[in-house]
């Protein structure tokens, strides 16, 4: 089986600064892949290249064998790539349900229609998606009133509206309470496994990464320096060196040892 996502030699530089230099990796359907690395390693740049927000200087991004490099975000989305943002981006003048309905209308190519009440369109589908992320009780609330954790869940519902094959999540749990983090990632993992969606996410919280990712990739100064199971990556001396100052991996290992 060929990979769902095949990235080869991705390069991006800004005015002489090499943000990403030759990143290659692959991702299978149903696999949960974490991309970690210190601040400024190029994680967000990678992400934004994958969904077409930034055009790479070189490299190839193949989704199920088809080249998607150079396509605008909206076209990448049509090919089946959903994404959530580090700083949530939702439609603040609409209700929670309407946010999902817009995504559904767009998916079904109904947004050019001038007839009918959009608030009544795809009601069942919208409710199902909201129920999936546990937001059905808040469906009628103005999106602007939501707590941050709920916004993150709403983003997930929106990202799932086009029945994606690939889900990109940029720091999905940033700003959430620890308990919420675990819940959201469990939910994501369950959905991904059930529907065979490939998930790529970045994350600063190593607990989240090591608990939920099938595979972990480490990015440092624009280059992939390690890839493997959470266990392998954690024990990689190279990775430890990168993270030494931050103490995150040390803490994680320490916890693991004391648990044994």
């Amino acid at each position: 089986m060929s990979a769902l996502l095949q990235v080869n030699g991705l390069v991006k530089s800004y005015a002489g600064v090499h943000a990403v230099r030759g990143v290659s990796f692959s991702l299978n359907g149903g696999e949960i892949l974490a991309l970690i690395g210190p601040n400024g390693a190029g994680k967000s740049t990678c992400f934004n290249m994958l969904n077409g927000q930034i055009r790479p200087n070189a490299g190839s991004i193949k989704l199920a064998g088809e080249e998607i490099v150079g396509l605008p975000p909206r076209t990448v989305w049509r090919r089946g790539v959903g994404r959530t943002f580090q700083i949530t981006a939702t439609f603040s003048s609409m209700t929670v349900r309407e946010n999902v309905q817009v995504a559904l209308l767009s998916f079904h190519k109904r947004l050019r229609s001038a007839l009918g009440y959009a608030g009544a369109a795809f009601l069942d589908e919208a409710n199902k998606l909201l129920a999936l992320v546990g937001m059905e009780a808040q469906a009628g609330r103005p999106c602007g009133e939501l707590a941050y954790g709920d916004l993150k869940r709403l983003e997930l519902a929106i990202a799932l509206a086009n029945a994606p094959r690939l889900l990109l999540m940029d720091e999905p749990t940033a700003g959430m309470a620890p308990k919420e983090r675990v819940e959201l990632m469990r939910l994501t993992a369950a959905i991904a496994r059930e529907k065979g969606i490939g998930v790529l996410f970045t994350e600063h919280d190593m607990d989240v990464v090591f608990e939920h990712a099938d595979t972990v990739m480490v990015l440092n100064r624009g280059e992939l320096v390690a890839r493997g199971t959470p266990q392998e990556v954690r024990r990689d001396p190279h990775v430890q060196a990168i993270y030494l100052g931050e103490g995150l991996l040390y803490d994680a290992r320490h916890r693991e040892e004391s648990a044994q």
Binding site: N51, Q53, P72, P73, R74, T75, W77, R78, R83, F85, A89, T90, F91, S92, S93, M94, T95, R97, E98, Q101, V102, A103, L105, S106, F107, R110, L111, R112, S113, A114, L115, G116, Y117, A118, G119, A120, A121, L123, E136, A137, Q138, A139, G140, R141, P142, C143, G144, I158, A161, N162
Partner: protein, 632 residues
């Protein structure tokens, strides 16, 4: 050759005042994010006060002292306005500050006439600079050379002020990040006031320096403010150097445009601005604006379609209005027809502004194009009213297709300015293409068909068209297209990430708004029986903006209420008082301060302040959707 040089010198001299005023506007915008519409009024006040002072005190000291004192006096007035008015509305949506300063402009126009009379005034010559210098055998006023030298001098002084003083460093810091400067313990209030005072000083100084060159008149403000907007936009908002370069560019274009292309002299400047904005969307020296403030601002309550009760209410109002011709007099009915036309005009602009998040400063262009479309059909093809009402608005549509394509590439203030530029280009065409449009004399004899020629008949016609069009616009708001448009407005990032082509959606919205404005314009032509260039002038665009903001920018149909209130008030004031601008301006300022969410927004707030019925917000929403479905 010599002639060209002299012309170039004259252009440079004009550039000096333009630069002074534009740099003031740019500095104010850079720090406070306010487009100060009253800047032209301060320029005019500077000229008038300087006239009085230099008239009273003769001699070099009297003249130069008078110019300086006049600028300081006006700067103090500006500071007062900032403290009393602007400080109250910094948290309102950006356009409200524009509306408030527009209100002030109206007031100043009447006050100036009240104090100095409506006659143009001739100021004294500058002592020591009364003569002329011979350049290659042609005479150039020596005062022009003084102005030419003054431009770079002021630029240098401003540079020193911003780079070599503590105050200047704070101001530059505030330009980049206001919150950060505030958190460093700088008193923002006084920083803002002082910046505003400096900006107003520069405007007044620019005006005062004009008195030896031109007559002082009460129409100075509007003529300069448009040019200043152009300069600031070409140069880049917030950039003083940009204002300097653009002032020279614009002045030279004016000086030579009139020689080379007298037919389209007024258009050249706006064409250059349009080209600059398309190639460099933030002006020559501007930087991209930071993330715009949340689309419309204060607190967005999700829109809902009307309940059956509300629908019945609206239907009842329409029926009552439709019965008016049975008892109202002819005058009332023709006023009513005019108000109806403006209701549609305002509703079309509201659709673009509120739903699309695109604040057009030149919406009159499409209103006027619709009016001219209808008038030209009648004049050249002898079309009957029915045909002209249908085909006339097509001209508005065509204009919106063409201009909209360029405009939607920009956003925020730059979008507003490009729409203004296109409106001015359209106005110039109507004004200067005399063979076709009749120029200033307009097109006369555009009368309705006989069945609609009575005030009653026309009122019914207007009511029918306006009701249908406004209902159509409202349906569009709640249609899938309207949702997509709002999505693009709320978050460009998210809408793009769910497959929405924001630019093309906005372009369609622009065309829709332009077409509906065109319908209003065509009706207007038959209401008045004539069309003049003023129909697509700036005051008409501003009227539209005022109506939308007055009604409430965050509401679905506030524009309808805003248009009725504003137009009725304006017509009533015009008939009651000589000082209608003063009163109208005052009313606008008061309304902005008292109802920053507009009339309808205020009423909605009142309604929502009442305790809610038991049951979660979620179930309430579900009930609403169910109701709507039941109503179908």
């Amino acid at each position: 050759m010599e002639f060209l040089l002299v012309q170039a010198l004259s252009g440079l001299a004009s550039a000096a005042s333009l630069f002074l005023v534009a740099s003031g506007l740019s500095i104010i915008f850079g720090v406070m994010r306010i487009v100060n519409f009253a800047h032209g009024a301060f320029y005019m006040l500077g000229a008038y006060v300087a006239f009085t002072l230099t008239d009273r005190f003769a001699g070099p000291l009297g003249f130069w002292g008078g110019v300086l004192v006049a600028s300081l006096v006006v700067a103090a007035v500006g500071a007062l306005m900032e403290m009393v008015l602007l400080r109250r509305i910094y948290h309102a949506p950006e356009l409200f500050q524009l509306l408030a300063t527009f209100g002030v402009t109206l007031m100043v126009e009447d006050l100036v006439v009240l104090i100095w009379g409506s006659e143009d005034l001739m100021g004294p010559r500058a002592p020591g600079f009364t003569g002329a210098v011979s350049v290659f055998g042609r005479l150039v006023p020596s005062y022009d050379f003084l102005l030419i030298a003054l431009g770079p001098l002021v630029l240098g002084l401003l540079w020193l002020l911003f780079h070599r003083t503590r105050w200047g460093v704070l101001v530059r810091a505030a330009t980049q990040d206001r919150e950060m400067v505030a958190s460093l313990g700088v008193n923002q209030k006084w920083l803002f006031t002082s910046v505003f005072a400096l900006g107003v000083f520069l405007a007044a100084f620019g005006g005062a320096l004009q008195i030896p060159r031109t007559t002082v008149s009460h129409a100075m403000d509007l003529s300069i403010i448009v040019e200043v907007f152009v300069v600031v936009v070409i140069g880049g908002l917030g950039s003083v150097t940009g204002a300097f370069v653009a002032a020279i560019l614009v002045s030279e274009l004016n000086a030579f445009g009139i020689l080379i292309l007298p037919q389209i002299s007024m258009i050249t400047v706006f064409l250059v601005m349009a080209v600059v904005l398309v190639v460099r969307p933030y002006g020559l020296f501007g930087k991209p604006e930071g993330a715009p403030r949340a689309a419309a601002g204060i607190s967005i309550r999700p829109w809902r379609p009307m309940t059956n009760l509300e629908r019945s209410g609206v239907a009842a109002v329409v029926v009552v209005v439709a019965l008016m011709p049975l008892f109202a007099g002819d005058y009332t009915l023709s006023v009513g027809s005019e108000i109806l036309v403006y209701v549609l005009f305002a509703a079309s602009l509201h659709f673009l502004m509120t739903v699309g998040g695109l604040s057009s400063f030149g919406h009159a262009a499409y209103f006027g194009l619709g009016a001219y479309g209808a008038a030209l059909l009648v004049k050249y093809f002898g079309a009957p009213m029915e045909a002209a009402l249908v085909i006339g608005p097509v001209l508005g549509l065509v204009g919106a297709v063409l201009f909209g394509w360029f405009c939607v590439r920009l956003s925020g203030v730059y979008f507003a300015m490009l729409t203004l530029a296109f409106a001015q280009i359209t106005w110039s065409v109507a004004f200067q293409w005399v063979e076709v449009t009749g120029g200033d004399n307009g097109i006369l004899g555009i009368w309705p068909s006989s069945w609609a020629s009575t005030p009653q008949g026309f009122f019914w016609l207007a009511l029918a068209i306006v009701v249908v069009c406004v209902a159509a616009l409202r349906m569009l708001v709640f249609s899938p297209f309207g949702f997509g448009l709002r999505a693009a407005r709320d978050s460009a990032l998210r809408s793009e990430a769910i497959g929405i082509n924001g630019k093309s959606t906005q372009w369609i919205a622009f065309i829709v708004a332009g077409t509906f404005a065109g319908i209003a314009g065509a009706l207007f032509a038959f209401l008045k029986g004539s069309v003049f260039p003023e129909t697509l002038g700036i005051p008409t665009s501003v009227d539209g903006l005022v109506m939308v903001l007055l009604g409430g920018i965050e509401t679905v149909s506030g524009a309808v209420v805003g248009a009725v209130v504003y137009k009725a008030l304006a017509i009533w004031l015009m008939s009651k008082t000589e000082l209608s601008k003063l009163v109208l301006g005052g009313v606008i300022v008061l309304l902005v301060v008292a109802f920053p969410k507009g009339i309808v927004g205020f009423l909605e707030d009142l309604r929502h302040r009442r305790p809610k019925a038991p049951g979660g917000a979620g179930s309430e929403g579900a009930v609403d959707v169910a109701k709507v479905e039941a109503a179908r």
